[in-house]
Amino acid sequence: MTTPNNCQALGLSQDEYQKITALIGREPSLTELAMFSVEWSEHCGYIHSKRMLQLLPKTGKYPTLIGEDSGGIIVDDLAIVFKMESHNHPSQVEPKQGAATGVGGIIRDIFTAGARPIALLDSLRFGSLSEPYNKYLMRGVVDGIQFYGNCLGVPTVGGEIYFDQSYNGNCLVNVMCIGTAKKNKLSRARTKGSGNSIIYAGSSTGRDGIGGCSILASKEFKRGEEKRPTVQIGDPFTEKCLIEATLEALATGYVTGIKDMGAAGLTCASSEMASSGHTGIEIELKGVPLREKNMAPWEIMMSESQERMLLCVKKGKEKIIEKIFSKWGLNAALIGKVTGGRLVRIKHKGKVVAEVKADDLTSAPLYEVPCVKPDYLETVNRLDLHRLAEPKDYNQVLLKLLGSPSIASKEWAYRQYDHMVQTNTLVLPGSDAAVLRLKGTRKAIAATTDCNSSYCYLNPYRGAQIAVAEAARNLVCAGAEPAAVTDCLNFGNPTKPDRFWQFKHCVEGITSACQFFNLPVVSGNVSFYNESPQGAIFPTPAIGMIGIIQDAKKICTQYFKKENEAVVLLGVSKEELGGSGYLKEIHKTVRGDAPELDLYLEEAVQKTAREAISKGLVSSAHDCAEGGLLVALAESCISDRDNLLGAVIDNLTFEIRPDALFFGESQSRIILSCKNSSVPKIRKIADKYKAPLRVIGKTGGKKLVVLNGKRKPIALPLEDLSKAWHKSLEKQVSL
């Protein structure tokens, strides 16, 4: 019935074919083979990552929810559900639709849990903008996000965009969605109750996206391959109606389980629901609404057409559910039932075309992978600061860094996203973290995404730790207490031992930092095979984090507010330049080791800032990150575009090289501004937690002035800083 050629076309190995034959005791049918190929793919089966992922902590301060498709935490009677997911390869092939369907897919994971989506964040990586194709990618991805997210009425409130050569040929599009629900209203992605009905709802099924998860997401890019037909096409209007209809249907209490048909479509939804529910399932494909003629059973089972749901509905209540979907102009078709036993049985016009155990489909073989320290580390980790010339003109260095695309304002992108709809956004994009109020409570949540992949390239373990620490620091700067994590782990081909080493060390880094901060990893996604003919991407374990703000009135933003306030530095600046934006942009190299990270110091600094903010002592708080101290200070001066405010920094210590002092990226540093009378109170808090604190200057004036030892001070008019930072990205992305 099937041949080795079928296997290869479906992305299965000969070995896997033998395993399948042994499992089911006969040659598989084409439909069965197709189903195994998608369920056993890297994307669905986590075949190279599952063992490592078991390390990640699952508990924290708040009770955690680990669902089938997403996870979250419970705060009072509210469930906050969130997850981040990648759509890298589709976006590299077709940026607008790739990004759009990335947004659509992650949103479905949230509302199938019974939660209303309240916010989106995007963590994006592109190659250098000097390449026209990367401009095209960035414009297309931003267009796809605005096209889909704006229409849905889910605000895109934050995220990050970085640029590096390593993403030439393989961009990253990671989308995070947050939703909320009353904790007793959550739904699960599993079947329940033999005899209950299986209803298909949403868009009809076409031939789009066949093999999206197995062929596209689970292989690296090679020269001269055409993969566009494996990208799905999104329709945000249908998705918006699907959100409303699904939440209305769930509110009836007659839906006992629900799952979206995303990657691997109907195969994944049916087999995974049955496997999680410990039941069998029987589906008649004749009832599936189709948009193309003569679709073969295997095509229907593998299609990744968007905006579709599979529901398990109490027997006798089918009409009520169907009526809700039809009110919203959507298909709803009874296509099957829950059965006893554990079999997934697929029929086509009465004839059985597949019959396999649900658990066989969902228990993909896991692979032990050899793991070897990459050769490149020995070379790139060497950085001799004595041989690095100090810049002559620090003004020019600062302007250049502010205008470099990874550091420059991302306003060009977020201006195109509706970030205010739903009227919860208390801190708009452009500060360290987005803040959203939770209507009906006094609380708010802060959300951010973070990952410096240069650090992860130089030191995967510490780089991943830093991603966690920095995400937490960003939330603290908004006044929040970090509460939980989702991760999106982007790496190269895991069957190459040095790539797997990076993956392993990053997961261990995330694990150790999360354990230290008592943060659970409630959900996540792994994206392997991010390689093009020029090599693998930098390891990019993107961290999405949310934090809780007890009193929505006590929030903080990164920009200076008033003249003549004290500028305070929490933490210490060390002589380290490894992996810095300064080295990359000015000295054109990514070298050295990632900055040191002392988790105890990090904790002390974060606790000090949070307590000071919650006591109302702080006017602004900003994390020191890419570009170091001077970039952070400049951002505090200019990021509120309509209210630029200068500063004079006259009390830095010069025990280290000036370029390291100004542009080094030592971790665990926060810049605060506050009333002069608040300084002693903040100092007392810092002493309590043993956090280093130094008043380094004061706000005021129309310039940023920084004394530079015996040399001429750094002094730049705010307009120049603002122009470099605000205008640069728009200029570079223009055609």
């Binding site: 605005q146 704006n150 229409c151 849905l152 009425g153 329709d235 945000p236 209007f237 249908t238 918006k240 109606c241 919203w328 102009g329 977020y414 201006r415 195109q416 996203y417 509706d418 970030h419 205010m420 709809v421 739903q422 009227t423 956004t425 208390l426 708009l428 109020r437 209507k439 929505a552 009135k553």
Partner: protein
């Protein structure tokens, strides 16, 4: 005073408008499904922002054929207050309840940001609590907000004092004569691109939008 918020498939500011009327303005409010044909009992109707029918064909072009629009027409003809915000404004244009048409933004991008608008006519049912020439801080979020009308039409708008809101200092979308909001000749139908429901609470950065809803309430209470 009872407000109604229409839901078209694809509306996405319906819940925000509902929230402002109920929780901030503290007035009774109900949703109106787009297939409803009866607006009896409502004092004011809000056509909210969003992407009705996915903006297919043209913004508002499909929504104007929804059954509820017949009822809205009748409601307006009888003097009921109708406010169309963003996509609601676009629908009012397509339905012919207001003159002119909407083009894509000058920069061809969706734009979401706070802008300043000047209250040009403060004698209307929607702006009577604004001071003359008061500058309001209200956000926009649209792709097609570039209001267009021919010269004769523009003259007529001016002569009849129908321009209620103009962008102040900075015109974000290229609209003719900096128009941000207009009213019909009878004075009971307003369309505006900025979102007053997003700027009705201090926590969100501005309370200026609330003046629009409060003006409506003031008008309705005086009318009784």
């Amino acid at each position: 005073m009872k407000f109604g918020v229409v839901i078209f498939p694809g509306s996405n500011c319906d819940q925000d408008c509902f929230y402002v009327i109920k929780e901030v303005l503290k007035q009774p409010v109900e949703y109106i499904w787009h297939q409803s044909t009866d607006l009896a009992g409502f004092d004011a109707v809000i056509l909210p922002g969003g992407f009705s029918y996915g903006d297919y064909l043209r913004t508002g072009a499909v929504a104007r054929f929804s059954p509820v629009m017949k009822a809205v027409n009748k409601f307006a003809a009888q003097g009921g207050l109708v406010i169309g915000i963003c996509n609601g404004f676009q629908i009012l244009l397509e339905a012919g309840l207001l003159p002119g048409a909407m083009l894509r933004n000058r920069n061809l991008h969706f734009i979401c940001k706070y802008v300043l608008v000047k209250a040009e006519n403060t004698e209307t049912a929607f702006s009577n609590l604004c001071r003359p020439e008061q500058i309001l801080k209200i956000p926009i979020a649209h792709n097609e907000g570039n209001y267009y009308i021919d010269d004769a039409g523009l003259q007529e708008l001016k002569q009849n004092n129908q321009i209620v809101l103009r962008y102040y200092k900075f015109n974000p979308n290229g609209s003719q004569d900096n128009i941000a909001g207009i009213i019909n000749r009878e004075g009971n139908v307003l369309g505006m691109m900025p979102h007053p429901e997003r700027s009705a609470e201090e926590a969100l950065g501005s309370r200026d939008g609330l003046l629009i809803f409060k003006s409506m309430l003031e008008y309705l209470q005086n009318k009784r």
